[in-house]
């Protein structure tokens, strides 16, 4: 007796679907851009320039902004990589060893809620104006949420999956590579997504308040001169950076969790 194939879901061209789903985003974007331009022009105040003059500012300072962007992105990537490795690593260890979890849990939660910038003087004392001060700030901003998510991810592996592994005599290492890690991946990736936004914030704060470099320096300079156009121009750049970073993480996430049913993505 042969099994019957489940009826395939009605096929909708993905291009059409995404265009259909994207319309609220497109509409809100148009309203925002148009609103900004109109409001800026009608207010005619130096503190709220219209979008066109912000973009103009961006073009004028292009070389300076690109150089700053290079510095900032290097900081961001370095800080983020260190955070992911440490955050997910520590989370996995805490997930594996209950005692370690019990010992560290409250401190991780304290660090998660503490305003990360309070550690700035310490980093400044250690590294001064070096890049590592900023990397450390990014680390403080983005690591702890990944630890917390990873621990939860390991603890919420369905018990019946672990029992299945035991029933088939899975060695400990195989239990981890074949059951725990794949099962924990969606939640770990969700933590990494959250950490991405925090890392961008950490980068900017580090650059504005500790070692004054990169985009943070430009924001600080701009606000010192009450140059709203420059500050908003940098803001636009930072938003674009954050979007690209999130897109990259989302891309990796989608590759790793292809097996998830579409509705729970």
């Amino acid at each position: 007796m042969a099994a019957v194939a489940p009826t395939p879901a009605r096929v909708v061209s993905p291009g059409f679907l995404s265009r259909l789903e994207a319309w609220p985003t497109v509409a809100s974007f148009i309203v925002l851009v148009g609103g900004w331009e109109l409001l800026g022009r009608s207010l005619n105040q130096p503190f709220f320039p219209p979008l066109s003059s912000v973009l103009n500012e961006l073009a004028i300072n292009q070389a300076e902004i690109m150089a700053a962007l290079g510095t900032s992105l290097t900081n961001l990537v370095l800080g983020f990589i260190v955070s992911v490795v440490f955050g997910v690593g520590l989370g996995l260890l805490m997930g594996a060893f209950r005692k370690l979890d019990a010992a560290l849990d409250i401190y991780i939660n304290a660090l998660l809620t503490a305003p990360s910038l309070v550690f700035a003087p310490i980093f400044f004392a250690i590294w001064g104006l070096e890049r590592w001060s900023i990397v450390a700030v990014i680390f403080m901003y983005s690591t702890w949420i990944m630890v917390v998510n990873t621990v939860t991810a390991v603890h919420t592996v369905p018990p019946e999956m672990l029992e299945m592994g035991r029933a088939f005599n899975a060695p400990r290492i195989k239990t981890w590579t074949r059951i725990v890690l794949p099962s924990a991946t969606p939640l770990i990736m969700a933590g990494i997504r959250l950490a991405t936004g925090r890392a961008v914030k950490g980068m900017l704060n580090g650059e504005m308040f500790i070692a004054i470099v990169g985009l943070g320096k430009l924001v600080k300079d701009g606000s010192g001169r009450f140059d709203a156009s420059l500050v908003l121009a940098i803001l636009v750049v930072i938003i674009v950076v954050a979007f690209i970073a999130l897109w990259v993480v989302g891309w990796v996430d989608a590759r790793l969790t292809r097996w998830l049913p579409k509705t729970s993505r």
Binding site: A3, P6, M164, F168, K174, R178, S183
Partner: protein, 272 residues
């Protein structure tokens, strides 16, 4: 042969409450090549009994022997089929079916050949590259069955394997399982809460009762084999109806005993 002698198992109760006696003084022998079904109301320790045989939980007293050797943990001669299927959603059918062999360190080529053979046997030929999420419940449990059979176990342990399936799918899988079993005659311990299923599939039915979980009685099912070729006439036979009727009268008596015991308990508790 599986010998279960004087096995008891208690679980610690929730905070403050008494421990739960999931199994008390269970004696049971599962013969080689027999299809044994275990029936009883929920909470009577069926799953615990199966997990003890599987070596997934330690028992407090007594002994469990498989071919004379005491069970100290899971072993390759026993394979389990789960009610919730417990398939790995990130792996395709082929990898899922090969999982047991993979854990035994069998090389990829050999285990995939074996897995393909089993996929064919459970009627899933052509579906080996699909993910579990793309399959219906019935097809998923076929994968679960193939995964268990792939390790060539001496004993197949099945915990309400068709309990999560709809009526029609369940019928098809019962037929399929009987067909496979009648061809292979692997020893099976099959847990169910369906009287009809217990009679249809089993050589013997173990009837369990709750609080504490223990064996009430063991009944022989005298119906001839093979049954898979004419399930409908088996089900309409007088023997079948009589067996189900007998099981039902026992279960009903068990329920009224439980109710009486509970009322007696309440009466005692409300006395000043």
């Amino acid at each position: 042969m599986i010998e279960i002698k004087g096995v008891s198992k208690a679980f610690p109760g929730r905070k403050g409450s008494e421990p739960v006696q999931a199994l008390k003084d269970v004696d049971l022998i599962v013969r080689d090549n027999e299809f044994l079904t275990v029936l009883g109301p929920s909470g009577c320790g069926k799953t615990t009994l199966l997990r003890v045989i599987a070596g997934l939980v330690p028992h407090d007293t007594g002994e469990v022997l498989v071919d004379g050797k005491p069970v100290t943990g899971p072993g390759p001669e026993r394979a389990m089929v789960f009610q919730s299927f417990a398939l790995m959603p990130w792996d395709n059918v082929l990898t899922n079916v090969a999982f047991g062999l993979e854990m035994q360190g069998v090389d990829k080529k050999t285990r995939e050949l074996k897995a393909l053979e089993l996929i064919e046997m459970v009627g899933l030929g052509g579906f080996e590259k699909r993910l579990p999420g793309e399959l219906s419940g019935g097809m998923q449990q076929r994968v679960g069955l193939a995964r268990a059979l792939a390790v060539s176990p001496k004993v197949l342990l099945m915990d309400e394997p068709f309990g999560a399936l709809d009526e029609q799918t369940r019928r098809l899988l019962q037929e399929e399982l009987l067909r496979i079993w009648e061809a292979t005659r692997t020893t099976v311990v099959f847990i169910t809460h369906s009287m009809e299923e217990a009679v249809l599939l089993g050589d013997r039915v173990v009837l369990m009762r709750p609080r504490p979980g223990r064996i009430d009685q063991i009944l022989d099912i005298p119906m001839a084999r093979p049954r898979s070729t004419h399930l409908d006439s088996v089900e309409s036979s007088g023997e079948f109806t009589a067996m189900v009727g007998l099981l039902w009268s026992n279960l009903r008596a068990m329920h009224s005993d439980v109710r009486r015991a509970r009322q007696a308990g309440q009466a005692a508790a409300t006395k000043p």
